[in-house]
Symmetry: C5
Subunit: 256 residues, 5 copies
């Protein structure tokens, strides 16, 4: 569970509700079913035109997977790679076969297995990087989806407000102008909240998780290639450690 | 037929019409022929200035071709390439000549024919990639066209609203202000809907189909080069499989 | 003459005038000399600050040259290059000297002359590409100019509207508000039309002509280098043909 | 302490307060606790959804470290590198071991230590550049954070204004319209000030400090590699000096 | 002196003043000291937060230097380089030592001096290009500064308008609404003029001068390297001439 997301949603809701109450408004005056339907449903309709079904169905899984995902421990990955490197230098690449089952990450498993199978480092590097690009593309779908959503929502908010204004202006009785405009503005209000409070931040967080997963994969690729080419384990460790902020590095790595 | 597009158009229309009806407006109050003509015709006039005739006539064909296009089956392409690779390794490159007629895709036909003709892999790669760039450029026309359209439509929507406002303000009778502004706002309404509900999403979907077609071509180029250079069929398959999301890979490819 | 541009300007004008008349406005109510002067003159003043005189004087020639320019026939260029390639392979590079006068394009003349002069392909490639970059830079001036113009015009439109509003608000008599605001809005109206109906589309078309001219030059560079390096004429033709959309290729090139 | 920041904050505050007073407004009319809470709290809530907790906690340290940071003296760095280069050329690379403790910068210490340890220049270069990228990424967090904040604040400002308008319009008494709108506009006012006066400028200054730190690191990398490869100390100095504006170079370096 | 800038400023001022007078407004109604102070002072305060003092002090010198700068004569530079090349081919690189004092440009002096000193072409190229990057970075400061200014000015214009509106709305007497809003709109007016008429165009012209200076430096680098590597003077001339538009080339260079 991503704590920050939960706190953010609760805090933002409290702020908005609080500003309504402190302004002596009622929550009910801010609730309007057709406006909500227009902003959400209209945006979703635009997204159906934007993306093929197969992509849309993937968005949900990417969203879930990424929001619940516990972050991988980069230090643990590096330690595992260094340990594998030591085995390989001591007992040869084939010795890694027996250690494959200790590895959790399927991407690292794939890399080590190719190394054990005797493929050349160039091919292993190429295959692993193609896989990385594919993962990046797949995860990008989520980010792009929420960004499109965040562009659509305020646009449909404006459409709804125009609908309200045209109706109100077409039959202008003094007593209707205020409430008519109030309702008309609600769709703009929904569009602004949906985009700025939920959709854009979700796109940002998906981008963050994506970049972090790619960082882990980058470390694994460099590690596997280092193992294959028989690089000195200490140098390999130092190279991989540069991916970690100095403060989080274990004590012996205190040069920077 | 692209189901998502159809559902999206129907759903969005329902949402907009629904919001008009639930607001106690009449559909007729939202219909205004000159406003529609100004938004569509004015934008189209701007597009005529933006693009030469030859490009515009291509937009229709790109649009149709891409919207009706059934998506190519990437897995089938990979399997065909692997099978061709096995033939070539067993019986030599010339043996592929007899298999050319089983291939549907003209781009792959071109590649295999060049390989059979004995051109060097560098030249085959160069020619196929130039073709890819040309396809990308041609398809891009559609996307760019709809994006220009989507920028023009709201601009002419605003022009129409300004026309309406200037007329209304120039002869301001209290009873005319409301209906005058209502009509003036309609062009903004049309521009907003055209851009956000139809044109931008169509540009997005064209971009998606374009990227997918290029992905298929990329796989074909790598496959043909792999066949020409006599790469091991199993390694070729593994390389090409990385372009497919893990879940969609056949069982034996379960490492990632 | 660029037909699409003419049709576009006529069509757009009809649409705007039509929307004024159908709204029961008079054309005269939309004509205001000081507003037009402010939008055009103000934007031009900003452009004088943006660009040095020498660049501005070039804009007119680029604009004219490009709008009247009849498009080069790419197929004819390729055929000429292939024919030159055949001469060179049959009779040697020096034989091309006698054929230079059949060539119209000064860029191609320059390339062939350098080849005949015995410069190395690397140098010919470098000189031709520097020339291409220079052409791109010079043509870019036109596009950039119209884009700057298109940004300035609505800005000065807004300045004019602010001027009108401040004057109107400073001396607010009920009977003046409507007409005052109507006149104030006219500069916004002019700015919007200038930018979206004329300037941005002109920038787009200049960009299109520029990209097309560069495509022709790219083909010439590749052709000249192919001729110099004695590439097989059939392969050269196939390479160059990939720059043409399949439908426009002559019959024998029907693979894709 | 960054003087310019302090002067900027004071000057801007004086300007805004001055414009209120000169307009015969009272400061109290511009203070509204719920509006401030909505703009700050709402934006912060959106940021919580955008970034994981671990990144947010780093923002504060980056902000502090960078704002208090006294700028490194580039000339001193170059002189130190040249002096180390002379030692290395005179007494060998190992002689640098004794001089490591005179070096303050941990990044330069790391580089020299690796050189002394006999790692190859390629590896030293790769490790130092990975470290640079990591520093760039870490510092970027601060800039990105303030940019997100600067986008959120006006958005929540608009949300607050919409809340105020809907409440005011829903219960429209003539005597309430003015004060109601005044309060509604305050959140837009807060959002505009927060974004344009504080957040965007802070993002800019963080970006400046980041680029300057990377410049120092670039000089160190080039210096260390020059030392390792035994480059002539005078040429090394000339190369490194190009990073300094001519006016700030010591007298002997007056060619440009 | 840059004539275009002066004419632009005069023309634009005439246009704006003319539109005020033709609208029967008075210039005094458009003059408001606190509004001007808020737009200029507030923007400047934001810039103080954005940039460190050392950068700000450089902006003035870059601005002056560039606006008064007489443009370098590219043809003269090329002729000088070709003449130096002929000397070097005839009498050897060392012969250039005697000609250094005829050279005005310190960047070219630096390059020739390094060539005479016998540095390798790779090192000369690297040092000259580092210098070019440094010049680009320094000049960029000016452009970036004016662009930041141009973003700040309208933002503070809006802040000022909000201040005016809140004050006016908080104490709404019918006779005050018009003049109150007129004054409130003045800051928006100032912000729009400052950004679109002065600051953005100045940023554009600085960018132009920067790109032109870099073009001259590019020609010098290529010339010096050509001289060092003993390239044929005629070919060197032809290469360098491609940087000049065909119409401006001397007669003998009429191929393109």
């Amino acid at each position: 569970m991503d704590i920050a997301t939960v706190i953010g949603i609760v805090l933002g809701t409290v702020m908005i509700v609080g500003s309504i109450i402190s302004g002596k408004g009622t929550i009910m005056a801010f609730y309007n079913t057709p406006s909500i339907l227009l902003v959400i449903g209209g945006s979703f309709a635009a997204l159906l035109i934007s993306y093929p079904m197969s992509e849309l169905s993937r968005v949900l899984s990417v969203t879930m997977k990424v929001f619940v995902n516990k972050q991988k421990d980069i230090l643990a990955i590096i330690n595992q790679l260094v340990s594998l490197s030591e085995s390989a230098r001591r007992d040869g690449l084939l010795a890694l076969e027996g250690r494959i089952e200790e590895i959790d990450d399927p991407f690292l498993v794939m890399g080590i297995r190719m190394a054990v199978d005797g493929m050349s480092p160039e091919i292993v590097d190429a295959i692993m990087r193609t896989e990385m690009e594919a993962v990046e593309t797949r995860h990008d779908v989520g980010k792009t989806f929420y960004e499109s959503f965040a562009k659509s929502a305020p646009a449909f908010g404006m459409v709804g407000t125009l609908v309200g204004l045209v109706i109100m202006l077409g039959d202008m009785k003094p007593e209707n102008i205020g409430p008519g405009m109030a309702v008309a503005l609600l769709t703009t209000f929904y569009g602004a909240i949906a985009a700025n409070f939920l959709l854009l931040p979700m796109a940002d967080k998906l981008a963050y998780y994506n970049s972090r997963e790619l960082l882990c994969m980058e470390i694994m690729v460099r590690g596997v290639i280092g193992i294959q080419t028989g690089e000195n384990s200490r140098i390999l460790k130092q190279k991989l450690m540069t991916f970690i902020p100095p403060k989080l590095r274990p004590e012996e790595e205190d040069q920077v």
